[in-house]
Amino acid sequence: MNKTTGVITGINGNMITVSFEGSVTQNEVGFAVRGDERLKSEVIRIQNNQAFLQVFEDTRELKVGDTVEFTDELLSVQLGPGLLGQIYDGLQNPLPELAEKFGFFLPRGVIMDALRPEQNEWEFTPLVRKGDRIKAGHALGTVPEGEFTHLIMVPFDFQGDFTVQNIVEKGKYRVNDPVVKIKGERNQTHELSMTFDWPVKLPITAYRRKLLPTEPMITKVRIIDTFFPVAKGGTYCIPGPFGAGKTVLQQITSRYAEVDIVIIAACGERAGEIVETMREFPKLTDPRTGKSLMERTIIIANTSSMPVAAREASVYTATTLGEYYRQMGLNVLLLADSTSRWAQAMREVSGRLEEIPGEEAFPAYLESRIAEFYERSGVVELYNGSTGSLTIGGTVSPAGGNFEEPVTQATLKVVGAFHGLSRDRSNARRYPAIDPLESWSKYSSVVDKKIIDDANRFLQKGSEVHQMMMVIGEEGTSVEDFIIYLKSEFLDAVYLQQNAFDKVDAATSPERQKYVSALIDDILNHDFEFESKDEARKYFYELRQKFIDWNYLKMDSEDFKKQEQSILTMIKGLNRDEKGV
């Protein structure tokens, strides 16, 4: 096929201007050729016979007059078995293999196969027979990939109905080996292998319909699951100033979340943080499968010093991989850290295109891009009747820790849950530092609504009393108000806060959350009689200590029962009957 070529006429930072003859597609990939190097770039604007391309690499030493080869393909990722457990850069180059081949530094202009087509063989089991009618997204066969059954599907962009002409026997094949031949309505035939490409900026829609996200996605973080839950297929965001614990919260979620697959997109953040995940995940075991956590994880690492244009792409790369596994009826969680860096990458490109800037120089289309990204989440009903989900959680790093900035505001418009981290809570070492009064969620919790309403009421009132005490002092506060304050502090200390470094406390199962929150609710609603504030304070501190000790005990252990008994004896006359506990 005759591909278009062009010539560079201008270079400004990572953007090149190319004059071309023939046809060029928006978002098409082009290669700027300089000697042996081929620098990957993407068309982002076309004007008359000039195309503007953002280059995914350092543009130094390119010259006006250098050739650009257009590929006629949109920026794509390779889909197929072998993605799990991989560590990719923003353009799906496997980082460990790059390191093996090129050493310490990331080379320029190198493109590597994402799926190790030479090394890996897969046990293919056909699901269709000759003569079967199929269409895009239908499964042709399966291969086992770790714990999962990986579906080999008809590429999602195939239009119309197809008939299976030929399919290979069950056996071992490499990803690029042809396994099936299909014929379309107009007698065109295609040979399919186990892998195909998909353009990252287009959502995969080869499913029957999208459903409303209702089932909770368990993170085992109490304040999230109980108070600000996330649904499978839902979206949430975590904005917070630096040092408030965004990344730690993401790391905890990536470890304990009850989903099948976790995709971590480290987008423009410190390399050191992702190194910890990369080095530790292979050593940790997934409690659900007993295998290494890495086997259910894909890491997309485009850290802050890696090229900016690839940072913009990395979020889409991660989303596409998530959608691909959702097509197999799996529950996928995508964690993007941080979407602000992604938005900044858009801002840099927009600035070079000399577009009229919006607020804080972010492009005018910032909101729609953010909305598009989060809208790629969802629960979907697939053609075979099963459902799969993609949940998206993004951190936001607002400048100066101020939530009134464009990225946070645009994100809040489209997400289903908001976990706002507060500097005050992190300074007070109250982790996770999610602000219980600011945050919200539209999804349903694992515990009864009544318990949450009660708790919220006490948190609200407790905070009011606390503020009043700051002004008029403890002396001017009534014992009743003081007890409300103590109750809210108690709730905060024993339930909202959680020790991520303790084996037991780090992950609280939904059953335990229900069990413990019911007892806390009873305590909150119990009428305590105290002579003085000091007596009340002493009592609640003791109760808190017992509760915290309780949190560190395994739920099925003897000690757990004992500690519970000791708490119950402390609260004389606590009414536990009405809920039948």
Partner: protein, 498 residues
């Protein structure tokens, strides 16, 4: 032969344009003006119009001046001969010595593959207790010193340079005042550290753009030495000047500013430099300490704000001391487990006590009567400030830990410190404080002084401690904020009493 052009089309700010062909992006050129020669770098190509930023500034550039393209991007030579030498922002000697031209390497090279990074685990000792004990510096860490003009941040850098356990030091000065540059030179010379140092100095009197190259020059050289197995410490002062130079060029190039005039890529530009900090798996390491002065002492200013998101913690330098509260080394947990068993306990315990001292000090300054416990805390606080926090204190980690125990023994009874009993039995100095008031009488005296709420709240705070210890995830440091607010609550209570 390289092409020479002598028709400069425009001079705007420090950027000139010429018409030329076959020029590479990022290429260097040499401009000969009546003032002498200056390097310039290609920052934009548009057809045959080439924009160059002139390092020596455009003052005195005439339209007929000669522009000679060198055919290569900015490079710096790299050799052992550079040790002890001082260069300017263009990489030329400024100490009168001969130019070094061997082994040239390009600057601002590719970034390190994350798959090749390792979890850092080597501590760098500086003999400054506020760093070694409370916020340990770790090889491959990138840490800014947040400070304001007038603070002795350069003095601190010079001391760290002299005392840090590293193989070599590379100092990058950006917009440095001349006397500060001389200060660094003299201090390192006197301390005998000059022969393991390399200076890249851009002084405030030189054109701003020349300073832009300094971090890249330092880090390119550092990277090569680190790959040869050297433990390199890179000191940069002041990164706010670097950011301002970026701003100047961005505005000259008519880029859309994002926040307070800074370009939208400020984060990426800073990250590209800071992320050069690395611990090579099989070779040396680069550690970066960089001064960032906060305009108006405002940490939400774009430069410190972006820096904070990039670096692994920060040191706040205020009133000539490293603040124990805001300062944080995110990597200290990686190393302070293996130093000495009391390290973490001293680190947490002394700061918690210091936080209580601040509370008492605030009460004292408000004119409240001091209880015996307050008196102890005041005594402790003063000792802590003069014998630990003061920047002139210069002792190794172990001695600092011992000194910590001594200070506590002089001021408190063992059980008042909240330290674990096994550590107390091991480390508490034998000839500890005998003159101290016993806790009972302390409580009595407090009751006498009319603060009835005091003993109880003290009990509860003692009870709170173990709870807090278990709960607190991550860096266990007493928080200034809550202590402050507790102090405020107590004051309010006290004043209500009065």
């Amino acid at each position: 032969m390289k092409k020479v052009y002598n028709r400069i089309l425009s001079v705007v700010g420090n950027v000139i344009t010429v018409r030329a062909e076959g020029i590479a992006y990022g290429e260097l050129a040499e401009i000969s003006t009546r003032r002498g020669k200056s390097l310039a770098q290609v920052i934009k190509l548009d057809g045959d119009i080439v924009s160059l930023q002139v390092f020596a500034g455009s003052r005195g550039v005439s339209t007929s001046d000669e522009v000679r393209f060198l055919g290569h991007p900015m490079r710096v030579s790299f050799s052992e001969n550079m040790l002890g030498r001082i260069f300017n922002g263009s990489g030329e000697p400024r100490d009168g010595g001969a130019a070094i031209t061997e082994d040239v390497i390009p600057i601002a090279g590719p970034s390190v593959n994350p798959a090749k990074r390792i979890i850092p685990k080597r501590m760098i000792r500086t003999n400054i207790p506020m760093i070694d004990v409370f916020n340990s510096l770790v090889a491959s860490q990138k840490l800014p010193i947040f400070s304001v003009s007038g603070e002795p941040y350069n003095e601190l850098l010079a001391r760290i340079a002299l005392q840090a356990e590293v193989d070599m030091i590379i100092l990058g000065g950006i917009g440095l005042k001349f006397d500060q540059y001389m200060y660094f030179r003299n201090v390192l010379e006197e301390g005998g550290a000059l022969n393991r140092s390399i200076f890249f100095i851009h002084t405030a009197s030189e054109p701003t753009v020349e300073g832009l190259m300094v971090p890249d020059l330092c880090l390119a050289v550092a990277e090569k030495f680190a790959l040869k197995g050297k433990e390199v410490l890179v000191l940069l002062t002041d990164m706010t000047n670097f950011s301002d130079a970026l701003k100047e060029i961005a505005i000259t190039m008519e880029q859309v500013p994002s926040n307070r005039g800074y370009p939208g890529d400020l984060y990426s530009q800073l990250a590209a430099r800071y992320e050069k900090a690395v611990d090579f798996d099989t070779a040396g390491a680069i550690t970066i300490l960089a001064v960032t002065t906060m305009p108006g002492d405002d940490v939400t200013h774009p430069v410190p704000d972006n820096t904070g998101y990039i670096t692994e913690g920060q040191f706040y330098l205020r009133n000539g001391r490293i603040e124990p509260f805001g300062s944080l080394s995110r990597l200290k947990q990686q190393v302070n487990e293996d130093t000495r068993e009391d390290h973490r306990a001293i680190m947490d315990g002394m700061i918690q006590l210091y936080a209580q001292y601040m509370e008492s000090e605030e009460k004292r300054s408000m004119g409240f009567r001091m209880s015996a416990w307050d008196q102890k805390l005041l005594r402790y606080g003063k000792a802590f400030e003069s014998r630990m926090m003061d920047l002139s204190v210069n002792i190794p980690l172990e001695e600092a830990l011992d000194r910590g125990w001594t200070i506590m023994a002089e001021c408190f009874e063992p059980h008042e410190t909240g330290m674990r009993s096994d550590l107390i039995s091991q480390f508490w100095p034998e000839n500890g404080n005998t003159a101290a008031v016993s806790p009972d009488s302390a409580e009595e005296s407090m009751v006498r002084s009319g603060k009835k709420s005091e003993p109880d709240s003290k009990k509860s705070s003692a009870k709170r401690k173990p709870a807090a210890k278990k709960k607190q995830a991550g860096p266990k440091k007493s928080s200034k904020k809550t202590d402050r607010s507790q102090a405020r609550t107590k004051q309010a209570a006290d004043s209500g009493n009065d």
